[in-house]
Amino acid sequence: MTVNKRIKPASVNPLKIGQSLGGVLALQGCYRALPIIHGPQGCSAFPKALLTRHFREPIAVQTSALQEMDVIFDANRNLEEALNTVLTKHRPDIIGIIGTELMDVAGVDYQSMLKSYKRERNLRGGLAFSVTLPDFSGSLESGFSGTVEAMVDELIQQAGHRNQRSVNSRQITLLPGSFLTPGDVMEIKEMISAFGFEVITVPDISTSLSGHLLTGFSPLTRGGVPLDSMLQSLQSGLTIAIGGSMERPARRLHNAIGTPYKVFQGAMGLKASDDLLHFLHQISGEPVPLRYCWHRENLLDSMLDAHFQFAGMSVIAALEPDHLYSVSQWLDELGVEQKALITSCETPVVSGMEREVWVGDLDDAEVLGNGADLWISSSHGLAGAERIGAAFMPAGFPVWNELGAYMSTSVGYRGAMEWTNKAGNLLIRREAVRRESSVRHR
């Protein structure tokens, strides 16, 4: 409907996470990959610390470690040094160079530098690409999808010489959005393969950030989709993108090699899950597996049980655009009042929403959501939720005050059930605390 913005000069308690962090996250979903952030040390140290804190896993990222004089004289010398070091020491399969806003402001042309570097060194067998992700526009989500798009581009170029593309109609490329947890990606993969499809997920954080027991330290990523699977994914008969932000990479695949694509803007709640399963049922001709019919009934039953709890409740959600859309759809099904929906930046998905959306920060959430019963946002919102007396439900990125948040599932019937119960439990506990304190003060 409308996208609003509260007028104030400064951002107070920012909701927005820099784009470059999204780029680093995307590359964690590729096997033996290494993102190199072209910028000062802090530009890689902060994302690394934050991602480590959220996923509770080591995070692979390096930096060109620029200092003042490097920016002034030749920033690309540092990048070349970084590439040399990384290539000789660790031999990654995939290198993603993420250009920060400083490179934009200083006008550094690292794209051509990378091209000539690749030509001179005769880099073959690996994938090296660059992507510009300045922090003064976009957000985590656009950084993630932008990186996937750049990666897909490079894949297409690398495979380009082989013209004859044999299409494997039983193989689907899944492009999961940045808001999906490793648990979510796993669930969607399972759903698609339950209909007899081969799934190649690009990028696949469900096999890298879900927690594994591989020993032997490596500065590269330890899981995710390998490069040859990514190349093989070009033969898929269909692309499924989850989240509106992933439409661009899907369209890129369509335009370049003709793979048809289907975008699911949300994946949360009854209707979104119905849509996905119905679609898979239609294209495969297979019946919907019995377990999903069970899950569907379980979800509906749990919603029946929980609906007393949600009666008359109001919710405030402050999340990334795609995530907000998804969560808002689920909230619609619960029948709660959506007091305010706040997101980090404007995208076609949020401007196309039927509800009013605000682009702002967590301080706006506090002001607009005053009186709300439930607050859904990243862990940064905890203090604000306490100040307005709302129950706090951590979601999105980053979440550090809850164990296993990175594995919690919100997609599919099971995910919707998990979230419904979690939100309901929080409201029950809040009610109990309130009752107790009102008795005590009487």
């Binding site: 400064a10 951002s11 820099g18 390096q62 040094e81 590439l83 020491k89 300045p134």
Partner: protein, 453 residues
């Protein structure tokens, strides 16, 4: 213990394998680790709890870092708000000074803080924003101090940022206020950030010894108390290399003697308290400190007994980078733990000399190489536990090595006598946890015992 100031120490005299002289090195592209100067400046200044901290630049510098530090507050929490000018591309093209001015006005009007710290970032430094002028103008107009902190990320390492923040304090804050008349003059603590509440443990100790804590620079500090830091009688630099310059400056400017000390381990704590009393030049206080430290030390020895039994002879690898290396070593030695490897990547020669003083000859120095190098040391030297910063925590978890987090993100306070006890407990629990055995044994179907029919 005779109070001396250890300024010069020859590493080679100790007969250890101390590495050669190493000035502040340029970070190596492709292998660099650790934060930038902006990060460092915030570490030093964010614990000033009632001040507002505004980051002038694109969103990520503030957005990716606010609320990520374990520094605690006993009251005001304005410094836990994340303020950023969130520059867009238009602001960068046309200049962000107007936005900065408006932001300062907005914060001053809405939150009425005693002071606003404004941080520059790489982008604003590069496009030449005149932050100092904007701050000066705003300070004059609003009647509160607005302090520019010129420590953009690309000028150097985290340590440099700490130092630049110290310089900002010296230039704009210290000496601008006077304590109330009946305040007893005492000691400043420099470089103690109240991580996990360590400042409170230290404060309690100082109180029971009758030593007044004047200004906390900056753990759980209020802006006001830092303005009168120049009236203190003694400065103590709490294991922080980067703020040594601040203490030195204060010595030459205000004639305040300083010493370096630490509160990790009973011996170091005792030494620090005694040194305070000694420099205060107060016999009565010295006697009180002696009584207190004797009592506390004997109590802690008593309390530690069960844990020492378990910890004795255990081997640890220590990788904290900074100055903490040497101070933690003393604490570990008191617990009977042998330090078999110690990281020196961010230590200066001075620190290394102090480490060499405290460890045995067979301790390995890890000058660089990051996580893989530490893990190699852990394996080679058969260490039982790894003590490092949070960034390396999950590296250790993957290798199934017991781990203690020692850096600024941690949740346990290890300072003072109580802290030593807590450290001992924490290590015992970590070593005794059943997970190490469970995680290292294979699933039953992977055990290579053929099924016997």
């Amino acid at each position: 213990m005779e109070p001396i100031r250890k300024d010069e120490l020859e590493a080679k005299d100790c007969g250890s394998q101390a590495p050669k002289s190493k000035p502040c090195p340029r970070p190596k592209p492709g292998e660099a680790a650790g934060g930038c100067s902006f990060d460092g400046a915030q570490i030093t200044l964010l614990p000033i709890m009632d001040a507002a901290h505004l980051v002038h630049g694109p969103i990520a510098c503030a957005g990716n870092s606010w609320e990520s530090r374990g520094t605690l507050t006993s009251g005001p929490s304005l410094s836990q708000y994340g303020f950023a000018t969130d520059m867009s591309d238009n602001d960068i093209i046309f200049g962000g000074e107007k936005k900065l001015k408006d932001s300062i006005d907005y914060i001053a009007g809405r939150f009425a803080p005693p002071a606003i710290f404004v941080y520059s970032t790489c982008v604003t430094a590069l496009i030449g924003e005149d932050m100092d002028a904007v701050c000066k103008e705003a300070a004059g107009r609003l009647g509160i101090p607005v302090i520019p902190v010129n420590s953009p990320g690309f000028v150097g390492s985290k340590n440099l940022g700490n130092r630049l923040a110290g310089e900002a304090l010296l230039q704009y804050v210290i000496g601008t206020g006077e304590p109330e008349d009946d305040t007893k003059l005492g000691v400043n603590l420099i470089g103690e950030y109240n991580i996990a509440g360590e400042m409170w443990d230290i404060e309690k100790l100082m109180n029971s010894a009758g030593i007044t804590l004047m200004s906390r620079i900056t753990g759980d500090a209020r802006y006001k108390e830092i303005t009168w830091a120049h009236r203190a009688k003694v400065n103590m630099v709490v294991c922080s290399r980067a703020l040594l310059g601040l203490a030195k400056e204060m010595e030459s400017k205000y004639n305040i003697p300083y010493f370096e000390g630490s509160f990790y381990g009973a011996k170091e704590t005792t030494y620090s308290l005694r040194q305070m009393a000694f420099l205060m030049n107060d016999r009565e206080m010295e006697r009180r400190v002696d009584r207190l430290t004797e009592r506390e030390e004997s109590r802690v020895i008593q309390d530690l007994r069960p844990y020492r039994k378990i910890l004795k002879g255990k081997r640890a690898v220590l990788y904290t980078g900074g100055v903490k290396s040497w101070s933690i070593i003393s604490a570990l030695k008191e617990l009977g733990i042998q330090v078999v490897g110690v990281g020196t990547n961010k230590s200066t020669d001075d620190d290394i000399a102090r480490i060499a003083e405290r460890v045995g000859d067979d301790t390995e120095f890890i000058p660089e190489g990051g996580a893989s190098r530490i893990l190699k040391t852990v394996r080679d030297r058969k260490a039982d536990i790894m003590i490092a910063g949070g960034r390396n925590m999950y590296v250790a978890m993957k290798e199934q090595i017991p781990f203690i987090d020692i850096n600024q993100e941690r949740h346990r306070a290890y300072a003072g006598y109580e802290g030593l006890l807590r450290l001992a407990k924490e290590m015992t629990y970590s070593l005794a946890n059943p997970i190490w055995k469970l995680a290292s044994s294979p699933a039953p179907w992977d055990k290579e015992v053929p099924y016997d029919r």
